[in-house]
Protein backbone atom coordinates (compact mmCIF):
# COMPACT_ATOMS: atom_id res chain seq x y z
CA UNK A 1 0.00 0.00 0.00
CA UNK A 2 1.38 3.35 -0.99
CA UNK A 3 1.75 6.13 1.48
CA UNK A 4 -0.92 8.31 -0.03
CA UNK A 5 -3.43 5.51 0.08
CA UNK A 6 -2.64 4.88 3.71
CA UNK A 7 -2.91 8.51 4.69
CA UNK A 8 -6.16 8.79 2.81
CA UNK A 9 -7.44 5.77 4.62
CA UNK A 10 -6.34 7.19 7.95
CA UNK A 11 -7.99 10.48 7.13
CA UNK A 12 -11.20 8.69 6.25
CA UNK A 13 -11.17 6.71 9.44
CA UNK A 14 -10.44 9.85 11.42
CA UNK A 15 -13.37 11.62 9.81
CA UNK A 16 -15.68 8.73 10.57
CA UNK A 17 -14.49 8.64 14.14
CA UNK A 18 -14.92 12.38 14.48
CA UNK A 19 -18.44 11.96 13.24
CA UNK A 20 -19.01 9.38 15.88
CA UNK A 21 -17.15 11.40 18.46
CA UNK A 22 -15.18 8.34 19.34
CA UNK A 23 -11.73 9.10 20.52
CA UNK A 24 -9.51 6.55 18.89
CA UNK A 25 -6.43 7.27 20.89
CA UNK A 26 -7.83 7.36 24.37
CA UNK A 27 -10.25 4.47 24.56
CA UNK A 28 -9.81 3.86 28.20
CA UNK A 29 -12.93 1.97 28.96
CA UNK A 30 -15.35 -0.19 27.14
CA UNK A 31 -15.56 -1.59 23.69
CA UNK A 32 -17.11 0.48 20.95
CA UNK A 33 -19.61 -1.37 18.86
CA UNK A 34 -21.10 0.03 15.71
CA UNK A 35 -24.63 -1.07 15.13
CA UNK A 36 -25.31 -0.18 11.54
CA UNK A 37 -25.63 1.52 9.13
CA UNK A 38 -25.86 -1.80 7.36
CA UNK A 39 -27.48 -3.98 9.89
CA UNK A 40 -30.48 -6.29 9.78
CA UNK A 41 -32.09 -4.75 12.82
CA UNK A 42 -32.10 -1.04 12.18
CA UNK A 43 -35.02 -0.25 9.93
CA UNK A 44 -32.95 1.55 7.41
CA UNK A 45 -29.64 3.27 7.67
CA UNK A 46 -29.42 4.22 11.30
CA UNK A 47 -26.07 3.95 12.93
CA UNK A 48 -25.77 3.65 16.66
CA UNK A 49 -22.36 3.87 18.23
CA UNK A 50 -22.52 1.96 21.45
CA UNK A 51 -19.87 1.87 24.14
CA UNK A 52 -20.01 -1.42 25.95
CA UNK A 53 -18.70 -2.69 29.20
CA UNK A 54 -18.95 -6.41 28.62
CA UNK A 55 -22.51 -6.72 27.47
CA UNK A 56 -23.86 -3.58 29.13
CA UNK A 57 -24.17 -0.28 27.42
CA UNK A 58 -22.32 2.69 28.86
CA UNK A 59 -23.44 5.16 26.26
CA UNK A 60 -25.35 5.00 23.03
CA UNK A 61 -25.19 7.60 20.34
CA UNK A 62 -27.44 7.41 17.29
CA UNK A 63 -26.00 8.94 14.17
CA UNK A 64 -28.36 9.59 11.36
CA UNK A 65 -28.43 11.54 8.17
CA UNK A 66 -27.60 8.70 5.80
CA UNK A 67 -30.98 9.24 4.25
CA UNK A 68 -31.35 12.97 4.64
CA UNK A 69 -32.98 14.25 1.48
CA UNK A 70 -33.44 17.86 2.45
CA UNK A 71 -37.23 17.90 2.23
CA UNK A 72 -37.60 21.23 3.93
CA UNK A 73 -35.43 22.89 1.33
CA UNK A 74 -37.10 21.02 -1.51
CA UNK A 75 -40.58 22.14 -0.52
CA UNK A 76 -39.55 25.73 -1.07
CA UNK A 77 -39.29 25.09 -4.80
CA UNK A 78 -42.34 22.95 -5.30
CA UNK A 79 -45.90 24.04 -5.84
CA UNK A 80 -48.39 22.88 -3.28
CA UNK A 81 -49.72 19.93 -5.27
CA UNK A 82 -46.18 18.89 -6.07
CA UNK A 83 -45.28 18.81 -2.40
CA UNK A 84 -47.66 15.88 -1.90
CA UNK A 85 -45.52 13.65 -4.08
CA UNK A 86 -42.50 14.62 -2.06
CA UNK A 87 -44.07 14.13 1.27
CA UNK A 88 -45.41 10.64 0.57
CA UNK A 89 -41.94 9.36 0.99
CA UNK A 90 -41.34 10.41 4.55
CA UNK A 91 -43.02 7.49 6.23
CA UNK A 92 -43.18 5.07 3.40
CA UNK A 93 -45.09 2.31 5.10
CA UNK A 94 -48.17 4.34 5.89
CA UNK A 95 -47.71 6.86 3.17
CA UNK A 96 -51.20 8.26 2.71
CA UNK A 97 -51.04 9.56 6.25
CA UNK A 98 -48.10 11.81 5.40
CA UNK A 99 -50.07 13.83 2.90
CA UNK A 100 -52.99 14.55 5.16
CA UNK A 101 -51.57 17.12 7.61
CA UNK A 102 -49.96 19.11 4.83
CA UNK A 103 -53.13 19.21 2.80
CA UNK A 104 -55.09 20.20 5.87
CA UNK A 105 -52.66 23.03 6.62
CA UNK A 106 -52.95 24.34 3.07
CA UNK A 107 -56.72 24.05 3.26
CA UNK A 108 -56.69 25.95 6.52
CA UNK A 109 -54.76 28.79 4.91
CA UNK A 110 -57.02 28.82 1.87
CA UNK A 111 -60.09 28.56 4.09
CA UNK A 112 -61.39 25.74 1.98
CA UNK A 113 -63.07 22.74 3.47
CA UNK A 114 -63.20 19.42 1.70
CA UNK A 115 -66.69 18.06 1.10
CA UNK A 116 -67.97 15.51 3.63
CA UNK A 117 -67.56 12.55 1.35
CA UNK A 118 -63.95 13.44 0.77
CA UNK A 119 -63.37 13.79 4.48
CA UNK A 120 -64.84 10.39 5.20
CA UNK A 121 -62.85 8.67 2.49
CA UNK A 122 -59.76 10.50 3.64
CA UNK A 123 -60.27 9.16 7.13
CA UNK A 124 -60.79 5.65 5.82
CA UNK A 125 -57.55 5.76 3.82
CA UNK A 126 -55.80 7.34 6.78
CA UNK A 127 -56.79 4.46 9.00
CA UNK A 128 -55.89 1.94 6.36
CA UNK A 129 -52.43 3.36 6.12
CA UNK A 130 -52.19 3.01 9.87
CA UNK A 131 -53.13 -0.66 9.62
CA UNK A 132 -50.61 -1.25 6.84
CA UNK A 133 -47.87 0.37 8.87
CA UNK A 134 -48.56 -1.18 12.25
CA UNK A 135 -49.21 -4.68 10.95
CA UNK A 136 -45.66 -4.71 9.68
CA UNK A 137 -44.46 -3.58 13.08
CA UNK A 138 -46.29 -6.41 14.79
CA UNK A 139 -44.52 -8.94 12.65
CA UNK A 140 -41.20 -7.17 12.72
CA UNK A 141 -40.96 -7.04 16.48
CA UNK A 142 -40.90 -10.82 16.49
CA UNK A 143 -38.05 -10.91 14.01
CA UNK A 144 -35.94 -8.59 16.10
CA UNK A 145 -36.38 -10.96 18.99
CA UNK A 146 -35.72 -14.07 16.97
CA UNK A 147 -39.16 -15.38 16.07
CA UNK A 148 -38.94 -15.49 12.32
CA UNK A 149 -42.44 -16.66 11.52
CA UNK A 150 -44.89 -13.85 12.43
CA UNK A 151 -43.37 -11.42 9.94
CA UNK A 152 -44.44 -13.62 7.03
CA UNK A 153 -47.99 -13.61 8.25
CA UNK A 154 -47.74 -9.84 8.60
CA UNK A 155 -46.55 -9.38 5.05
CA UNK A 156 -49.19 -11.71 3.75
CA UNK A 157 -52.05 -9.91 5.41
CA UNK A 158 -50.63 -6.53 4.62
CA UNK A 159 -50.88 -7.36 0.94
CA UNK A 160 -54.64 -7.28 1.17
CA UNK A 161 -54.67 -3.81 2.66
CA UNK A 162 -52.24 -2.59 0.03
CA UNK A 163 -54.48 -4.06 -2.66
CA UNK A 164 -57.39 -2.07 -1.33
CA UNK A 165 -55.35 1.12 -1.22
CA UNK A 166 -54.18 0.47 -4.73
CA UNK A 167 -57.73 -0.07 -5.93
CA UNK A 168 -58.66 3.42 -4.82
CA UNK A 169 -55.52 5.42 -5.36
CA UNK A 170 -53.56 3.54 -7.96
CA UNK A 171 -50.47 3.19 -5.82
CA UNK A 172 -49.64 0.61 -3.21
CA UNK A 173 -46.87 2.44 -1.51
CA UNK A 174 -47.08 6.02 -2.66
CA UNK A 175 -50.71 6.85 -3.27
CA UNK A 176 -50.33 10.61 -3.86
CA UNK A 177 -54.08 10.82 -3.71
CA UNK A 178 -54.89 13.76 -1.47
CA UNK A 179 -55.53 17.09 -3.10
CA UNK A 180 -56.14 20.51 -1.63
CA UNK A 181 -59.89 20.65 -1.39
CA UNK A 182 -60.58 16.94 -1.50
CA UNK A 183 -59.37 13.84 -3.20
CA UNK A 184 -58.25 13.04 -6.68
CA UNK A 185 -60.93 10.48 -7.40
CA UNK A 186 -63.89 8.63 -6.03
CA UNK A 187 -64.11 5.06 -4.79
CA UNK A 188 -64.31 2.26 -7.33
CA UNK A 189 -67.35 0.06 -7.46
CA UNK A 190 -67.38 -2.82 -5.04
CA UNK A 191 -64.57 -1.44 -2.95
CA UNK A 192 -66.61 -1.10 0.19
CA UNK A 193 -67.61 -4.75 0.30
CA UNK A 194 -64.12 -5.95 -0.51
CA UNK A 195 -62.67 -3.86 2.24
CA UNK A 196 -65.04 -5.37 4.75
CA UNK A 197 -63.66 -8.78 3.86
CA UNK A 198 -60.11 -7.55 4.18
CA UNK A 199 -60.79 -6.14 7.62
CA UNK A 200 -61.95 -9.55 8.76
CA UNK A 201 -58.58 -10.95 7.69
CA UNK A 202 -56.79 -8.27 9.61
CA UNK A 203 -58.75 -9.08 12.71
CA UNK A 204 -57.82 -12.74 12.31
CA UNK A 205 -54.22 -11.72 11.98
CA UNK A 206 -54.43 -9.75 15.19
CA UNK A 207 -55.79 -12.78 16.97
CA UNK A 208 -53.02 -14.93 15.55
CA UNK A 209 -50.41 -12.50 16.72
CA UNK A 210 -51.96 -12.42 20.12
CA UNK A 211 -51.59 -16.17 20.51
CA UNK A 212 -48.29 -16.54 18.70
CA UNK A 213 -46.38 -13.60 20.02
CA UNK A 214 -48.06 -11.87 22.95
CA UNK A 215 -48.82 -15.07 24.77
CA UNK A 216 -45.35 -16.50 24.25
CA UNK A 217 -43.47 -16.67 27.53
CA UNK A 218 -40.12 -16.00 25.96
CA UNK A 219 -41.47 -12.90 24.25
CA UNK A 220 -42.87 -11.67 27.51
CA UNK A 221 -39.66 -12.25 29.39
CA UNK A 222 -37.77 -10.38 26.69
CA UNK A 223 -40.05 -7.36 26.68
CA UNK A 224 -41.58 -6.90 30.09
CA UNK A 225 -39.83 -4.24 32.15
CA UNK A 226 -37.41 -3.58 29.35
CA UNK A 227 -36.99 0.01 28.23
CA UNK A 228 -39.39 1.62 30.65
CA UNK A 229 -40.18 5.22 29.75
CA UNK A 230 -41.83 7.29 32.46
CA UNK A 231 -44.58 9.51 31.15
CA UNK A 232 -43.02 12.85 32.08
CA UNK A 233 -39.68 12.06 30.52
CA UNK A 234 -41.43 10.84 27.40
CA UNK A 235 -43.40 14.04 27.12
CA UNK A 236 -40.38 16.24 27.61
CA UNK A 237 -38.57 14.45 24.80
CA UNK A 238 -41.57 14.76 22.55
CA UNK A 239 -42.51 11.11 22.29
CA UNK A 240 -45.85 10.65 20.65
CA UNK A 241 -48.28 8.12 19.40
CA UNK A 242 -48.37 4.65 20.81
CA UNK A 243 -45.05 5.23 22.54
CA UNK A 244 -46.48 7.79 24.89
CA UNK A 245 -49.86 6.13 25.22
CA UNK A 246 -48.15 3.01 26.51
CA UNK A 247 -46.70 5.07 29.33
CA UNK A 248 -50.16 5.92 30.51
CA UNK A 249 -50.74 9.31 28.87
CA UNK A 250 -54.25 9.45 27.50
CA UNK A 251 -53.71 11.66 24.48
CA UNK A 252 -54.76 11.01 20.93
CA UNK A 253 -55.02 13.81 18.40
CA UNK A 254 -57.75 12.02 16.55
CA UNK A 255 -59.94 12.60 19.55
CA UNK A 256 -58.42 15.74 21.05
CA UNK A 257 -58.21 18.58 18.63
CA UNK A 258 -58.00 16.95 15.26
CA UNK A 259 -59.12 18.86 12.21
CA UNK A 260 -60.32 17.77 8.86
CA UNK A 261 -60.90 14.12 9.64
CA UNK A 262 -64.09 12.64 10.92
CA UNK A 263 -62.91 10.66 13.90
CA UNK A 264 -65.16 12.55 16.25
CA UNK A 265 -68.20 11.16 14.52
CA UNK A 266 -67.17 7.57 15.12
CA UNK A 267 -67.40 5.45 18.18
CA UNK A 268 -63.96 4.24 19.21
CA UNK A 269 -61.62 4.01 22.14
CA UNK A 270 -58.14 5.24 22.92
CA UNK A 271 -55.89 2.50 24.28
CA UNK A 272 -53.33 3.17 26.96
CA UNK A 273 -51.14 0.98 29.09
CA UNK A 274 -49.62 2.00 32.40
CA UNK A 275 -46.31 0.13 32.22
CA UNK A 276 -44.30 1.98 29.63
CA UNK A 277 -42.11 -0.98 28.73
CA UNK A 278 -41.54 -2.64 25.38
CA UNK A 279 -44.38 -5.05 25.94
CA UNK A 280 -46.78 -2.18 26.55
CA UNK A 281 -45.78 -0.51 23.28
CA UNK A 282 -46.39 -3.73 21.40
CA UNK A 283 -49.70 -4.35 23.10
CA UNK A 284 -51.02 -0.82 22.55
CA UNK A 285 -50.24 -1.01 18.84
CA UNK A 286 -51.99 -4.35 18.57
CA UNK A 287 -55.12 -2.92 20.10
CA UNK A 288 -54.89 0.14 17.89
CA UNK A 289 -54.97 -2.02 14.79
CA UNK A 290 -58.13 -3.63 16.00
CA UNK A 291 -59.57 -0.24 16.80
CA UNK A 292 -58.70 0.97 13.31
CA UNK A 293 -60.62 -1.94 11.87
CA UNK A 294 -63.64 -0.91 13.91
CA UNK A 295 -63.30 2.67 12.72
CA UNK A 296 -63.06 1.71 9.08
CA UNK A 297 -66.09 -0.49 9.37
CA UNK A 298 -68.07 2.41 10.78
CA UNK A 299 -66.80 4.67 8.06
CA UNK A 300 -67.78 2.21 5.37
CA UNK A 301 -71.25 2.10 6.81
CA UNK A 302 -71.63 5.81 6.91
CA UNK A 303 -69.92 7.45 3.93
CA UNK A 304 -72.14 10.26 2.75
CA UNK A 305 -72.69 10.82 -0.93
CA UNK A 306 -71.60 13.89 -2.77
CA UNK A 307 -68.64 15.27 -4.62
CA UNK A 308 -65.11 14.49 -3.62
CA UNK A 309 -63.55 17.80 -4.49
CA UNK A 310 -64.35 21.35 -3.50
CA UNK A 311 -64.14 24.21 -5.91
CA UNK A 312 -60.55 25.29 -5.92
CA UNK A 313 -58.74 27.15 -8.65
CA UNK A 314 -56.69 25.22 -11.09
CA UNK A 315 -53.48 26.94 -10.16
CA UNK A 316 -53.32 26.93 -6.42
CA UNK A 317 -52.02 30.06 -4.78
CA UNK A 318 -52.34 29.80 -1.06
CA UNK A 319 -52.92 33.16 0.65
CA UNK A 320 -50.29 34.53 2.98
CA UNK A 321 -50.28 33.21 6.50
CA UNK A 322 -48.97 30.50 8.77
CA UNK A 323 -50.68 27.33 9.79
CA UNK A 324 -49.73 24.33 11.84
CA UNK A 325 -51.72 21.13 11.57
CA UNK A 326 -50.81 17.85 13.19
CA UNK A 327 -52.45 14.46 12.97
CA UNK A 328 -52.10 11.15 14.70
CA UNK A 329 -50.04 9.27 12.15
CA UNK A 330 -49.16 5.61 12.50
CA UNK A 331 -45.74 6.41 13.90
CA UNK A 332 -46.83 9.23 16.16
CA UNK A 333 -47.77 12.83 15.83
CA UNK A 334 -46.85 14.33 12.49
CA UNK A 335 -47.26 18.03 11.87
CA UNK A 336 -46.56 20.55 9.16
CA UNK A 337 -45.90 24.19 9.90
CA UNK A 338 -46.58 25.93 6.61
CA UNK A 339 -45.56 29.55 6.02
CA UNK A 340 -47.01 30.99 2.87
CA UNK A 341 -46.50 34.36 1.25
CA UNK A 342 -49.19 34.11 -1.34
CA UNK A 343 -46.96 32.37 -3.84
CA UNK A 344 -47.38 29.21 -5.83
CA UNK A 345 -44.83 27.58 -3.60
CA UNK A 346 -44.64 27.56 0.18
CA UNK A 347 -42.16 29.93 1.76
CA UNK A 348 -41.12 27.50 4.48
CA UNK A 349 -42.44 24.16 5.56
CA UNK A 350 -41.29 22.71 8.83
CA UNK A 351 -41.96 19.00 8.91
CA UNK A 352 -42.41 17.73 12.41
CA UNK A 353 -41.94 14.00 12.03
CA UNK A 354 -42.76 11.57 14.76
CA UNK A 355 -39.76 9.26 14.67
CA UNK A 356 -37.30 12.12 15.08
CA UNK A 357 -38.53 12.75 18.58
CA UNK A 358 -39.11 9.09 19.27
CA UNK A 359 -35.51 8.20 18.58
CA UNK A 360 -34.09 11.23 20.41
CA UNK A 361 -34.83 9.47 23.66
CA UNK A 362 -32.50 6.55 22.88
CA UNK A 363 -29.32 8.02 24.41
CA UNK A 364 -31.16 8.38 27.66
CA UNK A 365 -33.03 5.12 27.37
CA UNK A 366 -30.22 2.80 26.43
CA UNK A 367 -27.89 3.49 29.32
CA UNK A 368 -27.19 0.39 31.34
CA UNK A 369 -29.06 -1.93 29.05
CA UNK A 370 -27.81 -5.25 27.66
CA UNK A 371 -26.95 -5.53 23.97
CA UNK A 372 -29.84 -7.86 23.07
CA UNK A 373 -32.20 -5.48 24.80
CA UNK A 374 -30.88 -2.59 22.71
CA UNK A 375 -32.33 -4.26 19.68
CA UNK A 376 -35.60 -5.08 21.30
CA UNK A 377 -36.03 -1.55 22.65
CA UNK A 378 -35.31 -0.03 19.27
CA UNK A 379 -37.75 -2.43 17.70
CA UNK A 380 -40.46 -1.46 20.14
CA UNK A 381 -39.96 2.28 19.63
CA UNK A 382 -40.66 1.65 15.97
CA UNK A 383 -39.17 4.30 13.79
CA UNK A 384 -38.85 4.60 10.05
CA UNK A 385 -35.65 6.10 8.76
CA UNK A 386 -37.40 8.28 6.25
CA UNK A 387 -39.29 9.79 9.13
CA UNK A 388 -36.16 10.54 11.10
CA UNK A 389 -34.05 11.79 8.26
CA UNK A 390 -36.67 13.51 6.12
Amino acid sequence: MSDTADTKQMAYIAAQAADARVNLEIETEGMTLNIGPQHPATHGTLRIVVRLDGEQVISADPLMGYMHRGYEKLTEVRTYPQVTTLVNRIDWLGSFANEVPFILAAEQLMEVEAPPRAQWIRTALFEMSRIANVVLFLGDMGVQLGAVTPVFFAFRDREFILNQIEAVTGGRFHPNFDRIGGLKDDLPKGWIDETRGVLKRIRNFCDEIETLVVGNEIFQSRTRNIGVIPADIGLSYGLSGANIRSSGVDWDIRRDGGVGLVHNELDWKVWTHPDGDSFARFWVRLQEVRESCTMIEQILDGIPSGPVMAKVPRIIKVPAGEAYVETENPLGVMGYYVISKGDLTPFRVKIRSASFNNVSITPWLLKGVYVPDVISILASLYFILGDIDR
Partner: protein
Amino acid sequence: MIQLSSPEETTEEEIEIPKRDDIREDLISKLKDDLGESLVATEIIAEVDVWARVTKEAWLETAQVLLTRYNMKYFNFLSAIDWLPSPFGRDMDAQVDQPEPVTPEEMTWGTTGGETRFQLLARVHDPENHLGISLKVDLEDTDLSIESWSSIYPGADWHEREVSEMFGITFLNHPNPVKLYLPGDFEGYPMRKDFALLARRIKPWPGIVDVEDMPGEESEEDEVDA
Protein backbone atom coordinates in the same frame (compact mmCIF):
# COMPACT_ATOMS: atom_id res chain seq x y z
CA MET B 1 -65.98 32.69 3.84
CA ILE B 2 -66.08 28.98 3.93
CA GLN B 3 -66.66 27.75 0.45
CA LEU B 4 -69.34 25.14 0.36
CA SER B 5 -68.65 22.21 -1.84
CA SER B 6 -71.98 21.04 -3.13
CA PRO B 7 -74.09 23.35 -5.28
CA GLU B 8 -77.25 21.70 -4.01
CA GLU B 9 -76.95 23.19 -0.58
CA THR B 10 -78.38 26.64 -0.14
CA THR B 11 -75.88 29.29 0.60
CA GLU B 12 -76.49 30.80 3.95
CA GLU B 13 -76.13 34.44 4.61
CA GLU B 14 -72.75 35.03 6.05
CA ILE B 15 -73.01 37.11 9.19
CA GLU B 16 -69.56 37.89 10.37
CA ILE B 17 -69.63 37.16 14.09
CA PRO B 18 -66.08 37.30 15.33
CA LYS B 19 -65.49 34.12 17.26
CA ARG B 20 -64.20 34.37 20.82
CA ASP B 21 -61.63 31.91 21.90
CA ASP B 22 -61.73 32.19 25.64
CA ILE B 23 -59.14 29.60 26.47
CA ARG B 24 -56.51 31.09 24.25
CA GLU B 25 -57.34 34.64 25.28
CA ASP B 26 -56.96 33.55 28.86
CA LEU B 27 -53.61 32.00 28.12
CA ILE B 28 -52.33 35.14 26.47
CA SER B 29 -53.46 37.44 29.22
CA LYS B 30 -51.84 35.27 31.88
CA LEU B 31 -48.68 35.08 29.80
CA LYS B 32 -48.66 38.85 29.57
CA ASP B 33 -48.76 38.99 33.34
CA ASP B 34 -45.94 36.53 33.72
CA LEU B 35 -43.60 37.79 31.07
CA GLY B 36 -44.44 41.45 31.01
CA GLU B 37 -42.18 43.34 28.69
CA SER B 38 -40.63 40.23 27.19
CA LEU B 39 -43.81 39.31 25.36
CA VAL B 40 -43.44 41.38 22.24
CA ALA B 41 -46.39 40.31 20.13
CA THR B 42 -49.18 37.77 20.14
CA GLU B 43 -51.77 36.55 17.72
CA ILE B 44 -54.80 34.38 18.10
CA ILE B 45 -56.76 32.77 15.31
CA ALA B 46 -59.92 31.84 17.10
CA GLU B 47 -60.36 28.14 17.75
CA VAL B 48 -57.35 27.41 15.64
CA ASP B 49 -54.07 28.43 17.14
CA VAL B 50 -52.13 30.97 19.16
CA TRP B 51 -48.73 32.54 18.56
CA ALA B 52 -46.44 34.57 20.77
CA ARG B 53 -43.16 36.35 20.11
CA VAL B 54 -40.77 36.95 22.97
CA THR B 55 -37.45 38.65 23.38
CA LYS B 56 -34.20 36.77 23.13
CA GLU B 57 -33.29 37.32 26.75
CA ALA B 58 -36.54 35.83 27.92
CA TRP B 59 -36.34 32.71 25.76
CA LEU B 60 -35.29 30.40 28.54
CA GLU B 61 -37.61 32.02 31.02
CA THR B 62 -40.54 31.56 28.67
CA ALA B 63 -39.83 27.87 28.47
CA GLN B 64 -39.61 27.60 32.22
CA VAL B 65 -42.87 29.48 32.71
CA LEU B 66 -44.71 27.43 30.13
CA LEU B 67 -43.49 24.16 31.55
CA THR B 68 -44.12 24.82 35.20
CA ARG B 69 -47.10 27.12 35.26
CA TYR B 70 -49.01 26.28 32.14
CA ASN B 71 -48.49 22.52 32.14
CA MET B 72 -46.99 22.61 28.67
CA LYS B 73 -45.16 19.37 29.28
CA TYR B 74 -45.00 18.20 25.71
CA PHE B 75 -42.14 19.46 23.59
CA ASN B 76 -43.28 19.47 19.99
CA PHE B 77 -40.48 20.92 17.88
CA LEU B 78 -37.97 23.70 17.56
CA SER B 79 -36.90 25.12 14.25
CA ALA B 80 -35.91 28.36 12.56
CA ILE B 81 -37.18 30.58 9.78
CA ASP B 82 -35.08 32.58 7.36
CA TRP B 83 -37.18 35.48 6.20
CA LEU B 84 -34.89 36.58 3.41
CA PRO B 85 -36.73 36.25 0.11
CA SER B 86 -34.86 33.83 -2.02
CA PRO B 87 -32.30 35.60 -4.22
CA PHE B 88 -32.80 32.83 -6.74
CA GLY B 89 -36.48 33.55 -6.58
CA ARG B 90 -39.04 33.18 -9.20
CA ASP B 91 -41.24 35.90 -10.48
CA MET B 92 -44.76 34.76 -9.85
CA ASP B 93 -45.75 35.02 -13.42
CA ALA B 94 -42.57 33.64 -14.86
CA GLN B 95 -42.52 30.12 -16.00
CA VAL B 96 -38.96 29.21 -15.22
CA ASP B 97 -36.39 30.13 -12.63
CA GLN B 98 -34.43 33.28 -13.34
CA PRO B 99 -31.04 32.27 -14.61
CA GLU B 100 -29.32 34.99 -12.56
CA PRO B 101 -29.99 35.96 -8.99
CA VAL B 102 -32.47 38.83 -8.85
CA THR B 103 -32.43 41.73 -6.44
CA PRO B 104 -34.21 40.42 -3.42
CA GLU B 105 -37.51 41.96 -2.52
CA GLU B 106 -38.23 43.52 0.76
CA MET B 107 -38.20 41.20 3.68
CA THR B 108 -41.64 40.60 5.12
CA TRP B 109 -42.58 38.64 8.18
CA GLY B 110 -45.47 36.40 9.07
CA THR B 111 -47.62 35.96 12.11
CA THR B 112 -46.63 38.16 15.07
CA GLY B 113 -44.27 40.07 12.81
CA GLY B 114 -40.56 40.29 13.30
CA GLU B 115 -37.56 42.52 12.89
CA THR B 116 -34.67 40.31 11.98
CA ARG B 117 -33.81 37.88 9.25
CA PHE B 118 -33.68 34.81 11.44
CA GLN B 119 -36.35 33.79 13.83
CA LEU B 120 -36.56 30.72 15.98
CA LEU B 121 -39.83 28.87 15.97
CA ALA B 122 -40.80 26.51 18.72
CA ARG B 123 -43.96 24.81 19.75
CA VAL B 124 -45.01 23.26 23.02
CA HIS B 125 -48.21 21.57 23.97
CA ASP B 126 -50.28 20.75 26.97
CA PRO B 127 -51.37 17.13 26.60
CA GLU B 128 -54.05 17.31 29.23
CA ASN B 129 -55.85 20.50 28.24
CA HIS B 130 -54.99 20.07 24.56
CA LEU B 131 -53.63 23.53 24.11
CA GLY B 132 -50.55 24.34 22.10
CA ILE B 133 -48.66 27.55 21.54
CA SER B 134 -46.15 28.50 18.86
CA LEU B 135 -43.32 30.72 20.01
CA LYS B 136 -41.05 32.92 17.97
CA VAL B 137 -37.97 34.88 18.88
CA ASP B 138 -35.88 37.31 16.83
CA LEU B 139 -32.17 36.71 16.39
CA GLU B 140 -29.90 39.57 15.40
CA ASP B 141 -27.76 39.06 12.35
CA THR B 142 -24.66 40.09 14.21
CA ASP B 143 -25.08 37.64 17.03
CA LEU B 144 -26.82 34.44 15.97
CA SER B 145 -26.81 32.79 19.31
CA ILE B 146 -29.37 31.99 21.90
CA GLU B 147 -29.67 29.86 24.95
CA SER B 148 -30.45 26.23 24.61
CA TRP B 149 -33.73 24.81 25.82
CA SER B 150 -32.29 21.41 26.57
CA SER B 151 -32.01 22.06 30.26
CA ILE B 152 -35.77 22.49 30.42
CA TYR B 153 -37.01 20.34 27.56
CA PRO B 154 -34.45 17.54 26.95
CA GLY B 155 -36.06 16.83 23.63
CA ALA B 156 -34.82 20.15 22.28
CA ASP B 157 -31.33 18.67 22.10
CA TRP B 158 -31.60 17.16 18.64
CA HIS B 159 -33.81 19.89 17.25
CA GLU B 160 -31.25 22.49 18.20
CA ARG B 161 -28.47 20.49 16.63
CA GLU B 162 -30.37 20.39 13.40
CA VAL B 163 -31.08 24.12 13.49
CA SER B 164 -27.48 24.97 14.24
CA GLU B 165 -26.15 23.00 11.31
CA MET B 166 -28.83 24.05 8.88
CA PHE B 167 -29.01 27.76 9.74
CA GLY B 168 -25.78 28.49 11.51
CA ILE B 169 -27.31 29.48 14.84
CA THR B 170 -25.31 28.79 17.98
CA PHE B 171 -26.99 27.44 21.06
CA LEU B 172 -25.31 28.31 24.32
CA ASN B 173 -24.95 25.65 26.99
CA HIS B 174 -25.93 22.89 24.61
CA PRO B 175 -24.81 19.50 25.95
CA ASN B 176 -23.65 18.06 22.64
CA PRO B 177 -23.21 20.63 19.89
CA VAL B 178 -22.19 18.48 16.97
CA LYS B 179 -23.71 18.06 13.56
CA LEU B 180 -26.76 15.89 13.26
CA TYR B 181 -27.43 15.21 9.60
CA LEU B 182 -24.55 16.64 7.66
CA PRO B 183 -21.16 15.01 7.35
CA GLY B 184 -18.37 16.46 9.43
CA ASP B 185 -16.67 18.46 6.73
CA PHE B 186 -19.75 20.05 5.16
CA GLU B 187 -19.41 23.74 4.50
CA GLY B 188 -22.26 26.18 4.47
CA TYR B 189 -25.69 26.32 6.01
CA PRO B 190 -28.13 24.58 3.69
CA MET B 191 -31.44 25.93 4.90
CA ARG B 192 -30.48 29.56 4.48
CA LYS B 193 -32.17 31.15 1.53
CA ASP B 194 -28.91 32.23 -0.04
CA PHE B 195 -27.63 28.67 -0.13
CA ALA B 196 -28.39 27.50 -3.63
CA LEU B 197 -30.33 24.32 -4.16
CA LEU B 198 -27.88 22.72 -6.51
CA ALA B 199 -30.41 20.62 -8.36
CA ARG B 200 -32.32 23.72 -9.40
CA ARG B 201 -29.18 25.50 -10.52
CA ILE B 202 -28.26 22.67 -12.78
CA LYS B 203 -31.67 22.03 -14.20
CA PRO B 204 -34.16 24.85 -14.13
CA TRP B 205 -37.70 24.41 -12.96
CA PRO B 206 -39.77 22.93 -15.74
CA GLY B 207 -42.53 25.41 -15.14
CA ILE B 208 -46.12 24.73 -14.29
CA VAL B 209 -46.77 21.39 -15.87
CA ASP B 210 -50.20 21.04 -17.37
CA VAL B 211 -52.35 19.68 -14.60
CA GLU B 212 -55.23 17.34 -15.15
CA ASP B 213 -58.80 18.54 -15.00
CA MET B 214 -60.44 18.77 -11.66
CA PRO B 215 -62.88 15.85 -11.50
CA GLY B 216 -66.10 16.68 -13.22
CA GLU B 217 -65.99 20.39 -13.78
CA GLU B 218 -65.45 22.88 -16.53
CA SER B 219 -62.81 25.27 -15.46
CA GLU B 220 -63.68 28.89 -15.81
CA GLU B 221 -60.80 29.99 -13.64
CA ASP B 222 -57.72 31.51 -15.10
CA GLU B 223 -55.87 29.03 -17.18
CA VAL B 224 -52.21 29.46 -17.73
CA ASP B 225 -50.76 28.45 -20.99
CA ALA B 226 -48.48 25.62 -20.20
